[in-house]
């Protein structure tokens, strides 16, 4: 066979080689969108302490009730702990929890909300979702709990292929829905509903707008919209802020931090910086933004970064070079960044300097369906009184790192039923009265770490 004949034969073979199922599997595109959203949520969600829960957030913002910052790190690693309870939640698919006074609240595919007694682990109440057909979007976090109301998410049109999302105010005592408000986007992310002093900020009525809702009636108090930008939302010291970055290459290539008046929604630009940025979190009265300083394509790609601090009082901007994107949990001037495979790097929130890095020593299994995907550890739950950052892996192993040095101070384990590997999905860890509440799939537990004595 000469070259031309071979050429034709190979072309014939390749062009005649067709798959036997030409159609896309039903709902594949929607599943991919949800899968990517989950990955994003678990990877970047910690920036504003969303996944660690509202209670953890308040501890970090307020300084945890006057923790002793001068306390020296203890030497030695404790493996002591006390498992207070472990509970198997009803149903199978759980995606977000938060803590409130004396209780843990979660939502999942089959339930818009359940309440668990934080003292005993007993499921006190549950509110079923109207449809559990897998079409709803999993939530990365719950909007929060305030004044006896749980702010959760539910399908707007249950049972349909495009279920959409409602922000739902659920009275905890009566389990009655006080109000619900349809969101523009069904991200169910940490900034889809943001509690601020005077209301709750909802991503509504359009993708590029927010509506401030009265938290008891759901009435719209004011709205604010923007163009040519993607804006992250956060409440800082009770005030709503937008952190906006250009939404395309055609948009003006600058990022802005915008303050929204809680009463009127009047917008004031606090600061503007060049180029696209990603919101990293807050450090005291400063907003932290990250920019790519190398030739990265995505914010998550490895490479140098620019850490921008925006002082919310004065609008003063300072920029610092970091050797990687310091994306993660911000606690007491330190940004804790998790890297693939279970390494944590601590950066100074002041100047981007790398302070320490530490292998967590947790078990993060490979997804057999996609070896490029590993299980993820939880975001950090930080106990500022003891200055320990805790992490949880999907197999129930826990580790506590000294916030100042990165040294391991505690290890623990909760024995759990064997679960399938879910690459890209992280468990959730929350701090509750110096104890840890963890959620891995349908397992919820509370454990009290016993830290080594200082100087031991």
């Amino acid at each position: 066979m000469n070259a031309d004949q071979l050429d034709r034969t190979i072309r014939d073979v390749l062009n005649g080689w067709t798959p036997d199922s030409p159609g896309a599997p039903a709902g594949l595109a929607d599943r991919l969108v949800r899968r990517r959203r989950r990955r994003n949520l678990v990877r970047a969600g910690g920036a504003a302490l969303g996944l660690a829960g509202i209670a953890v957030g308040s501890v970090l913002v307020t300084g945890g009730g006057g923790g002793d910052r001068t306390q020296p790190p203890a030497s030695g690693v404790s493996k002591e702990s006390r498992l207070l309870w472990r509970t198997t939640l009803p149903g199978t698919s759980w995606d977000a929890c938060t803590t409130g006074p004396g209780a843990v609240y979660c939502r999942g595919a089959a339930y818009d909300g359940i309440g668990v007694d934080a003292r005993t682990g007993k499921v006190e109440w549950r509110r079923k979702a109207e449809a559990n057909d897998g079409n709803g979007t999993p939530a990365g976090s719950l909007a929060g709990v305030r004044d006896g109301v749980l702010y959760t998410y539910a399908d707007h049109a249950p049972g349909t292929s495009r279920a959409g999302t409602d922000l739902v105010a659920l009275d905890i005592d009566t389990r009655r829905v006080l109000w619900k408000h349809e969101l523009a986007d069904d991200s169910r992310d940490r900034d889809s509903g943001v509690l601020f002093d005077g209301g709750i900020l909802a991503n509504s009525p359009s993708f590029k707008s927010v509506a401030a809702l009265d938290d008891t009636t759901g009435r719209t108090l004011w709205t604010y919209k923007w163009k040519q930008a993607d804006c992250d939302r956060a409440a800082i010291n009770g005030v709503p802020y937008l952190m906006c970055s250009p939404d395309s290459e055609k948009a003006p290539q600058r990022s802005t931090v915008v303050r929204l008046d809680p009463a009127t929604g009047e917008a004031r630009t606090v600061a503007t910086v060049d180029g696209p940025t990603i919101y990293l979190g807050t450090d005291g009265d400063a907003v932290l933004l990250g920019g790519m300083a190398g030739d990265q394509e995505y914010f998550g790609d490895p490479g140098p970064a620019t850490l921008t601090r925006v002082d919310l009082g004065s609008g003063k901007v300072s920029q610092h070079r970091a050797d990687g994107m310091p994306m993660g949990d911000v606690a007491d001037g330190i940004i804790l960044t998790s890297r693939r495979g279970g390494t944590v790097i601590a950066y100074s929130a002041d100047n981007g300097e790398r302070l320490w890095s530490r292998e967590l020593g947790l078990t993060l299994r490979e997804d057999p369906r996609d070896p490029a995907m590993l299980e993820l550890a939880s975001d950090a739950a930080v106990d500022l009184d003891n200055r320990v950052a805790y992490y949880l892996d999907p197999s129930g192993h826990l580790v506590g790192l000294d916030l100042g040095s990165g040294e391991v101070r505690w290890r623990g384990q909760v024995r759990l039923p064997k679960s399938p590997v879910e690459g890209g999905v992280a468990p959730e860890l929350m701090l509750h009265d110096h104890t840890l509440i963890g959620q891995i799939g349908g397992q919820l537990f509370r454990i009290e770490p016993v830290l080594p004595e200082a100087g031991s």
């Binding site: 066979m1 000469n2 070259a3 071979l6 050429d7 034969t9 190979i10 072309r11 014939d12 073979v13 390749l14 062009n15 005649g16 080689w17 067709t18 798959p19 036997d20 199922s21 030409p22 159609g23 896309a24 594949l28 595109a29 929607d30 991919l32 969108v33 899968r35 990517r36 959203r37 523009a184 986007d185 991200s187 993708f207 939404d247 395309s248 290459e249 394509e297 995505y298 369906r369 996609d370 070896p371 490029a372």
Partner: protein
């Protein structure tokens, strides 16, 4: 994701899944599971920059080629290929005379090439990329493309003796004048 982007993505997946799966089948040598994984991984990657991509199909295809390179590096354990070929068709290989038999034999031989060799042939003969384009896509030199293509064809002839020995000692890479085929 903006609802309009979401809708655009959904339409793209529905419309192009078959063509993308076909390419993935070739790249993976007929391993249906790997092929589906490959398309989904590429679609997920495209989702990350969806609103910035002007040519989604071109982008997704390029991701698939490159991901295939990273798969070589991962050295995944070999999985039994699940050819998109009915068993009765495979049974016809024995007489080795008809054009259909020859196609089956060549298809099986393609499935037995290394991923690198197979990818090279798929890019040259199915995607109709020029040597320069293949080099650019795979991040190697044009010389590497030529030599790999040459070796791939030699191995193909070895695996499928029906193709016979080359008439002359020249590479059988397709002419760069061949018009680019439309993506199907």
């Amino acid at each position: 994701m903006d609802p309009q982007d979401h809708e655009r993505f959904r339409e793209f997946v529905d419309a192009r899944w078959s063509a993308l799966l076909r390419l993935a089948n070739l790249l993976t040598g007929g391993d249906r599971h790997e092929a589906e994984d490959l398309v989904q991984i590429a679609l997920l990657k495209a989702l990350g920059r969806w609103r910035h991509i002007e040519d989604p199909e071109g982008y997704v295809r390029k991701v698939m080629y490159r991901h295939q390179i990273s798969r070589w590096r991962l050295r995944r354990p070999h999985r039994e290929a699940t050819f998109a070929t009915p068993p009765e068709e495979l049974a016809g290989v024995a007489d080795g005379t008809s054009a259909a038999d020859l196609r089956i034999t060549v298809r099986q031989a393609l499935g037995r090439l290394t991923p690198r060799q197979r990818t090279m042939l798929v890019l040259r003969y199915f995607e109709d990329l020029s040597e320069t384009e293949v080099a650019s896509v795979l991040g190697c030199s044009v010389g590497t493309v030529r030599s790999t293509t040459h070796r791939s064809l030699a191995r193909l002839r070895g695996l499928a003796p029906e193709l016979g020995a080359p008439a002359r000692a020249a590479t059988a890479a397709p002419s760069t004048n061949v018009p680019r085929g439309a993506h199907t």
